[in-house]
Amino acid sequence: MFGGVFGGGSQKPAQSAPMGGMPGMGQGQGQMDPNAQLAAAEQEMEMVTDMFARLGELCNKKCILQRYSDEDLTKAESVCIDRCVAKYFQVNREVSDKLAKLSQANQ
């Protein structure tokens, strides 16, 4: 099930946990049907938007101080945001690798 999401067509996952985590997968190159291509692009766009929203909310909650004394980010906050984004992508990658392995083991 998880391996076939990108190649699979217009199936929209109910609970979208972002797969892979890297924007712009470019998996739709091999598709001939323009409708399928459009659907895949839509799905990818939705996933990227969802990932963006989650990432923004998570790193905002974790890193941004409640003390709004200055409009610029402090050094601590910008370092924290860099690390937060890197960790998020790393976690996504590892989770999707594990799921791929599990699904392969199940087959």
């Binding site: 003390r67 004394s69 402090t74 050094k75 601590a76 906050e77 370092v79 690390r83």
Partner: protein, 151 residues
Amino acid sequence: MSNPFTRMPSQDERAAATKVTDSCAFKAGFSGIAGYGIGLMFGLVLSGIEFSSPVDTTASTKQQIKTVIKDMGNKSLSSAKNFAIMAAIYSGSECMIESYRAKNDIYNSIGAGCITGGTLAAKTGPRGMAAGCAGFAAFSAGIDWYMHKDD
């Protein structure tokens, strides 16, 4: 080629400039220069308050004035150098501690104060270093608390 002094900087240029000015090395260097300036003023004031070395009273007035002014200048330069080193160490270490912890609270100042006090008192042995660390850390914690108490 458009004139870089009269055009608005582009987004990339501004981002690159921000990256430089937010780096720890730049902050330390800038604080060092500012510390040098403040140290000059402070040294000048201090040399007026302190008892100066005895002046040769047989020389002419102009000579005496020249000697005193040279002495004031030397004291002020040495004080400026000390202030510059202190400010650079404090600013650099605070920036590094903050980058490492990824938190913005008072403990960054305390740690930076301890490092600065300890480094400046390095010649007086471990006890002197501990005392310098504690003293400077308390001082910088107080200043930091005062500066941020209304946030």
